[in-house]
Symmetry: C2
Subunit: 199 residues, 2 copies
DNA sequence: TATGCAATGTTGTCAGTGACATCATTCTGC
DNA sequence: GCAGAATGATGTCACTGACAACATTGCATA
């Protein structure tokens, strides 16, 4: 790809990456399509070829975020547990991975769960979000299968676990907590939740 | 107060209420100070007398939200419990109240925990947020005092409880969950968490 | 009670923005 | 090698937030 070609080459990806950096640095409110275009060295209307409007860019960012979160959670919970200790470890790892994601890109996480998405993007977002929750369910089911935790609708348990991780992630990344270190809060949450699941 | 006086009378409150309605209807992104001014029947620059800039209005909204949340949680948990069943009931009520607040004004809740606040407003927001968490701690301490749950740092437990409620609230109000009714999710979360607290 | 100042509201202006229409260039499949 | 699809550029418009300068009103106090 020549340095100065009429076509950018991979403008869509460039815009997404710059936008992700921008929202973390200055918030969603301050995101400017025209500024992104300037930074990418294209005209102010070029982004509209890839994102119908600003909302479409935000939707794409959110979907991308869910996909990255799914990868993170997946990598953190490889291998089926064979002992209760291992199952518990997977659960801990899942929680730490979630909160780690949140601390690294808190604004993106908020955006992912923000409810103002274009109806057209809703299907993709739902699918991407569900993939993340599926991973949580996988950990729950694996723990149930070896008897590390009691029975119970794994989907419901996984949803509550996911919600717990999310809440801890938002609280710790939101700067609303000074007294308790983030890692301690994650550990406490994981421990309490696990206790509640015991047979 | 005359119908048409030079001074509006209570513009600040009018703006806050209209803004709260606007963000729930159209999202934070679409909030327009000038539109709020038009709706209130004042000039486009009048709001600046009450809110230095848009961020200041959002900060005030968030603080107001925390105060209202605190009132809701307080009203839902009146009276010291005397039995484990009552203590458990308080805990359930707290969770339901939190999620009810979230369902009624999901965008405001997101805004409250958004990290994009002016440094000058941080102190007030922190105080308002802590008041909500204090209420959660009150419920935990009350339960501990009558032995309904085991010992443990009540602040840490309360923070995790708060986080759990918040996570469930965001998930249920965010439209990311179709399979499980919100009330069921709240009940499951409350039950699992309570189990984890048993001595 | 009179008055001066603080609080509040108005008008005017400016640069930045998102969206859209129209035109230009390049790429790709046939 | 060429036609049409992708992608980018240019021009324009209404709207917005922020700010400056000016107007009106309410209130404290002398």
């Amino acid at each position: 790809m020549p340095i100065h070609s009429y076509h950018h080459g991979d403008l869509r990806r460039t815009l997404l990456e710059a936008a992700a950096a921008s929202i973390e640095a200055n918030g969603v409110e301050a995101l400017s399509l025209r500024q992104l275009a300037r930074d990418a060295g294209v005209s102010h209307a070029a982004p509209s070829r890839h994102f119908r409007d600003k909302q479409a860019l935000l939707d794409a960012l959110a979907e991308d975020g869910f996909n990255r979160l799914t990868v993170s959670l997946d990598e953190a919970t490889q291998g089926a547990p064979t002992t209760p200790t291992e199952a518990r470890q997977r659960f801990d790892d899942l929680a730490r991975s979630y909160v780690g994601f949140a601390l690294a890109q808190p604004t993106l996480l908020s955006l992912m769960f923000s409810l103002k998405h274009a109806p057209s993007a809703r299907a993709e977002l739902l699918a991407a979000g569900h993939a993340s929750m599926e991973l949580t369910m996988r950990v729950v089911v694996a723990a149930q299968e070896i008897g590390a935790i009691g029975p119970g609708d794994p989907q419901r348990i996984a949803l509550v676990a996911f919600a717990t991780f999310h809440g801890v992630a938002i609280l710790t990344s939101g700067g609303l907590i000074d007294e308790v270190p983030a890692a301690d809060l994650v550990a406490t949450a994981s421990e309490l939740f696990w206790n509640g699941l015991q047979p």
